[in-house]
Symmetry: D2
Subunit: 257 residues, 4 copies
């Protein structure tokens, strides 16, 4: 089977989803179920997974028995905060090693702070975490994060929450071509075709949150995204026809326009 | 159910496929089955559906009991040829009224000859055919073909066999906004995301042939296209999030870049 | 010299401009002067060039001694109106034969009505007019208008007044490759780079109005457009480098993404 | 006047050019003269500006009396090499402080090594250099380089030598919006419209080499680029019309497609 393998674990779904921005817990649950996702990422600083006893606990609706919970460091702007958040998550989840590291550079764009990301990733890997890491779409940085021991590299397609789709497919493609670990597009997908495009480039998976949660109908959009990721994956594996100006053209497009 | 309705008939699949360019009849059959298509278009001038007794008959593998056969006039460069071909198809298919009209303008681009298309469509409608019509992406022409009585209008996304995807989404969108009959993108789709984009714009269906038949693995691409069309349809119905420069932007993109 | 030749007349500028939408006559005059345009198009149904004696006359600021006045049929939705307008223009301009024909299809998009355009063009050519003709970007229609005797074919880049730039460069390129008369992009240019792109494709000229008149500073935008058209022309003649994924790539882009 | 000011010096041209890849010194000289550039960048590791006595010296044709020579560290893959190259340049050019720092990450893409770039920039600034710095298009990194004291930040539009144009205009725009020092697009421009697009975004200048040197006619392309940069600058200052789907649309594009 064509599984996504991250840190030795196999997943049949290549769609990873977040839990933020939904109307309520019921919508979160239904949409995530409909998405078919097996890995669900949770912002530890914003979501109660047990650190606030007596408040509603996300894990009651998104059960760790059913889903692989991927704690993330959303909202962390320094290496220190990100490290503390990962360690807290490990404790809350009973020694769970898989985390998604994001260290943000500013509140406006939510771009990563690459220097602090590199620094944190290095420490987390040494502390035994399995680090999936949010980064920009710079191929050199992506390779360095892989070499450091991250288990998956997660370049942004476009700014978090923008819905702009893959702004720079060539960069994503270069990252993929250079990689030995899974490359998972994280952030920026806005609709089904964006997800398909990511998979057609050869990404190993797509992580999204706003595109589902802020659709008019999140549950239906979750279903759409499930199919879009599968469609994109199959198109990648099937090998698309070349692009030509016409059927009768003797060669594919030549780079002049 | 969210059916495609053409000339009073309901179809649960919004993917329409052609039968040309496959390696052999077996591949044609398997790919079409995998695509989930219910409407299969056949080039009467190139494909034997009974007019050449003793030769292999497409209808033996693509049975009219299972599929709606949509005879088309591919290869016709004049109104006269197109009309003759439609009448022949009606005869071969026992009075079948549904046809796909295409009158081509030249061999290089396979763009439609709009004048001859308008003329032929008018005659065919008057002769009682249910005319699905291949056209360019000009919204005024599309509306005229609808007003003339065509049962579906089929603008090209890009030249036939090019795989370039939807070259002018604004035109397709304008055609859709003006229409009361189904708008089905015909020609130019190259990969799964192209099909999804068409459906996200609000097209009622997509017709394709080369994108499947000329993929490295046509059967897998057929499966991909089935999902891509569904994903795009669901994304359209679900209502996508707006595109913004960042999550924190107070308004969507403003048209300046 | 690298002149634009239309109906036997040579022009050193390849930028053609309209006269509508300016704040006042003084701005019209200054902007047009700054644009370096030699051909200035005038909407006969909206602009007084003598038919309303006693009212301000555009020709007082845009002198026919200095500019080639190109009367156009903007606002005409039927062949009859367009023909009458051209004949009126000829009379007002003392037998002037050069006209720009546009027959519009609807008020929303201002797309041409191709059927009425073909019909009017044919009549005008036979009446001895030198017809420059506004059309969609369909290569078959463009060729037919040329064969009919039009002296220049003017495909839209995007809807009139949209500022969307060249929506379908492949169509424009195909029109250019097929043509023996000048191809002048008419409508849709929004900023300098749009004009440059048109010229880089090999267009013989660009006609614009709103992009200049509705800039915040029309006179400065006129200067920009003058340079952009020259830059695009020179880039076309100079022959651009091929597009490659990197400097070290051994071949140009291959049409797969 | 609308001057580009870098490190306190004013320049009337916003086009910066390189000296590599020309057929011969004569072509280099003529093309650069035609480009109107006042700042000319020189790869110290590849070009003799005096370090190899007895060999042809670029400064004989590109005189420091006429041009501002901008030594660059092209070909350096480590901070150490880049620092040594800058110091050598300062010595060769009699104490000249202005340098263009580039530290490359790999030979395939020629993307910058951001970590080594940050490290080198910091040291060079402290040693009193005026550092113009080649970087990726990450807005957080660009801001950090500015804060460190670089006199200009030079994000890539696309890989060096690719001619792909500005791959991610939103990133470039964000860099510009955040900046107090000049932002100069460096690398990736392929033709005139690419340069115009960069300037329309609000870049303070464009640096290019291959787009001119590898055009079929480099001298004519140099002239084109001069005009394109001016046209783009004027369009930026003039303030373009908004993009709308049609002239009759009541509001600009809304971010849905």
């Amino acid at each position: 089977p064509d599984d996504l393998v991250v840190a030795g674990q196999s997943f049949s779904s290549r769609l990873l989803v977040g839990t933020g921005k939904y109307k309520d817990m019921a919508e979160t649950q239904t949409a995530i179920e409909m998405s078919g996702a097996e890995i669900v990422t949770v912002a530890i600083r914003r979501t109660n997974i047990g650190q606030n006893p007596g408040e509603p606990n996300l894990l009651d609706v998104i059960s760790p028995d059913k889903y692989t919970i991927l704690p993330n460091t959303a909202g962390c702007y320094t290496a220190k905060d990100a490290l503390r958040t990962c360690r807290l998550a490990r404790e809350l989840l009973g020694g769970h090693k898989l985390v998604k590291l994001e260290v943000l550079g500013d509140e406006k764009t939510l771009f990563p702070d690459i220097t602090a990301t590199l620094e944190s990733a290095d420490i987390l890997v040494k502390e035994g975490f399995d680090v999936m890491v949010y980064t920009n779409d710079d191929p050199i940085i992506a390779k360095r994060l892989e070499e450091m021991g991250c288990v998956a590299v997660m370049p942004l397609a476009a700014p978090i929450g923008s819905g702009l789709g893959i702004r720079n497919p060539y960069n994503i493609l270069t990252i993929i071509e250079n990689a030995k670990v899974p490359i998972i597009v994280d952030a920026g997908v806005g609709t089904a075709s964006d997800a398909a495009i990511g998979m057609e480039l050869g990404c190993d998976g797509i992580l999204m949150n706003t595109a589902i949660a802020h659709a008019n109908n999140p549950v239906l959009m979750a279903s759409s995204m499930k199919k879009a990721v599968q469609a994109g994956r199959e198109a990648f594996l099937a090998g698309r026809m070349p692009r030509r100006r016409y059927a009768s053209a003797s060669s594919p497009l030549d780079g002049l326009i």
